[in-house]
């Protein structure tokens, strides 16, 4: 996993944080592996337990650098940072939520379509395919790009 450097900045003394921010600004670039994820995405479809999971349609995900911000269809806001492993097959993604929860998943980006399947760490093993059945865990979601990265 490529650890997201911005995560380290959080909670540090302001001076160090400033240095971090300055460093990030100087790089002016996002980790290459995260580039395909940058920008805004909207959940267009989902599946859980082998059935459509329409309740989460309409949720919006914003990815900026390593940070993500998710506004669910019901209006809850969830933030945190991303980690990805693009050399894995399929590519792996972790959402490190600010409350300590971790979602472990796999993902693929094809054009403007981002597809993921994820579980909460501790509940089940990381999914290995983009499918759920009545007796397999995970939530498959499809997101369509709604805004390009700044």
């Amino acid at each position: 996993m490529r650890v997201i450097s911005n995560a380290l900045c959080k909670g540090l003394i302001p001076a160090v944080a400033l240095l971090c921010a300055a460093g990030a600004a100087a790089q002016q670039s996002v980790d290459e592996s995260l580039v395909p994820l940058q920008g805004g995405w909207t959940v267009t479809a989902a599946e859980q337990g082998g059935r459509p999971f329409d309740a989460i349609k309409g949720g919006v995900l914003d990815v900026d650098g390593e940070a993500f911000d998710l506004v669910t269809a019901s209006g809850n806001e969830i933030g945190g940072v991303l980690r990805v492993e693009v050399d894995a097959q399929p590519q792996q993604i972790d959402f490190l939520l600010s409350d300590g929860v971790v979602w472990e998943g796999i993902f693929t980006v094809r054009g403007d379509i981002l597809r993921m399947n994820y579980v909460e760490r501790g509940d089940a093993e990381r999914p290995t395919i983009f499918a759920t059945t009545s007796d397999t865990p995970g939530t498959v979601i499809v997101l369509r790009r709604t805004a390009a990265a700044d």
Partner: protein, 487 residues
């Protein structure tokens, strides 16, 4: 098994192949060997029109609850509620009609195979919801059950009910899930352990491009007219299978090590002929027809026959019927009848002219075998065997079958069993050459007709039956024994 079958052997075969023995079958097939009996039964089913029974539901299905943007929410909800009620009622009619056909059909082997495939592939009336699609799929299975596995799979993958059930409608580059591929590999073909995650992705790609739309000539509805947030069924314009090349992921796909330009049908035909599929289908047939094969020798032979004949179902089933395993002591009376087999056998044995189909379909559901609904939302079939009597209340429900049948007119015309005899009479065995009284003969005849596993004492049954009286009273007592649960 080339010798003429004995009477008990013929009954054993009829129980397994066509739900039960009946006097007519016993007369017709007496003196034949196992292979010839099978040939007769197969021919009778093969010549029966695949179009029978006639569809009972109005075709084609029309969506009366499309989620037009222009409609008020309240109006949409009213239409949807009415549609749900109509679908529920029609599905109930369809269940009753299918059960009635199993009972009365002149092609019982075919109906038994349709039931087998129903369980093999799985079914969910909840996922599919549209009763016309379920009826159409049964018609497909009736015609394909007498052909081969590749032919059946080739058609099934583009059957509207199956497309809806596994999630293949609209499966394209923007698909939500690879679930259709997962289910086909796991439940329809090679089975658990026979494929990799990569195969799921490759097959999923091969399956792309197909969707369901309005029938030819029917009024088309543009997607823009419909609420994008509505459920799939509220946006479904019809059950007409269509292919859109622009939504098919062309190019080579590697499926279980073979790389070709697979599409849905070619992929299914290829998977149908894999050794793992051959083994899985063979094992499923042995389980369904209750053949004990401890050394797996018959399973191995079936797998070879499957591959040699390209999954020819007649040859496979004939191999089962003529095997020594079919006739071993271990295979006799070893099968716990499924609720459907129990009900169909009872109605056939009693020659019920007008069985209470609606009540029976309700009983089937309580007993764990609702037609068109296998467990887990249609992912795979009924577990069978001990699961039919586990938990124990399932057995209690099975014993209620006579009560469900009660009240239906019988065509059998047998006399009611006698009142209990005196203790001295009950214990006395008739002397050789002495005629027994006619009521005892009637009970004997009925017991013979019901064909329970050996071990039931006639006079004990008669004592119990005296409480109820009548032919059905005696039959009910027999049906509520462990012996009657076996085939």
């Amino acid at each position: 098994m080339a010798d003429a079958l004995t009477h008990p052997q013929l009954r054993h075969l009829l129980r397994r192949l066509v739900f039960t023995a009946t006097p007519e079958y016993e007369r017709r097939l007496s003196g034949l060997d196992a292979g010839s009996v099978f040939d007769e039964l197969w021919s009778a089913s093969a010549v029966a029109s695949a179009g029978e029974p006639e569809p009972i539901l109005p075709q084609p299905w029309r969506n009366t609850a499309l989620a037009y943007r222009a409609l008020e929410t309240e109006e949409r909800e009213v239409r949807r509620a009415a549609q749900l009620e109509a679908h529920r009622r029609q599905t109930a009619e369809l269940r009753a009609a299918w059960l009635g056909h199993m009972i009365a059909s002149g092609a019982p082997l075919r109906e038994n195979l349709v039931l087998f495939f129903h369980g093999f592939f799985g079914s969910s009336s909840t996922a599919v919801e549209i009763p016309q699609a379920l009826e159409q799929r049964n018609a497909l299975m009736r015609s394909a059950a007498m052909t081969s596995m590749p032919a059946l799979l080739d058609q099934l993958v583009l059957d509207p009910a199956m497309m809806i059930q596994i999630g293949m409608d609209g499966h394209g580059p923007d698909r939500v899930s690879d679930r259709p591929a997962k289910l086909i590999l796991e439940h329809w073909t090679v089975g658990p352990g026979g494929y990799t995650d990569a195969d799921v992705g490759e097959l999923s790609s091969a399956l792309t491009g197909w969707s369901l739309g309005a029938a030819e000539g029917a009024e088309t509805v543009s997607a823009a007219e419909l609420d994008p947030a509505a459920s799939a069924i509220e946006r479904r314009s019809g059950l007409n299978v269509r292919f859109d090349p622009s939504r098919h992921e062309s190019g080579p796909k590697t499926l279980l090590g073979v790389t070709r330009e697979f599409d849905a049908r070619s992929a299914l035909r290829d998977l149908a002929l894999r050794p793992a599929t051959a083994r899985r289908v063979g094992r499923a047939l042995l389980e369904y027809f209750g053949v004990v094969d401890p050394e797996q020798r018959l399973a191995d032979r079936l797998a070879s026959v499957y591959l040699e004949t390209q999954g020819d179902l007649r040859t496979l089933l004939r191999t089962v019927v003529t095997s020594s395993e079919m006739w071993s002591e271990a295979s006799r009376w070893s099968l716990i009848k499924s609720p459907v087999h129990l009900a169909v056998a009872a109605c056939r044995q009693l020659e019920m002219a007008n069985p209470p189909l609606s009540a029976l379909t309700g009983w089937l559901e309580a007993a764990g075998q609702a037609l068109f609904d296998t467990p887990n939302n249609g992912e795979g079939g009924w577990p069978g065997h001990d699961a039919w009597i586990t938990p124990p209340d399932r057995l209690a429900i099975r014993y209620q079958l006579p009560h469900v049948l009660a009240g239906a007119p019988l065509a059998l015309g047998l006399a009611a069993p006698s009142a209990p005899r005196a203790a001295s009479e009950q214990q006395a065995e008739p002397e050789a050459g002495t005629d027994r009284d006619s009521t005892t003969l009637a009970a004997e005849t009925l017991l013979d007709r019901l064909d329970p596993a050996p071990g039931l004492a006639l006079d004990t049954l008669e004592r119990r039956a005296a409480r109820y009286g009548g032919t059905l009273g005696f039959a009910g007592v027999v049906m509520a024994t462990p012996h009657y649960q076996l085939a």
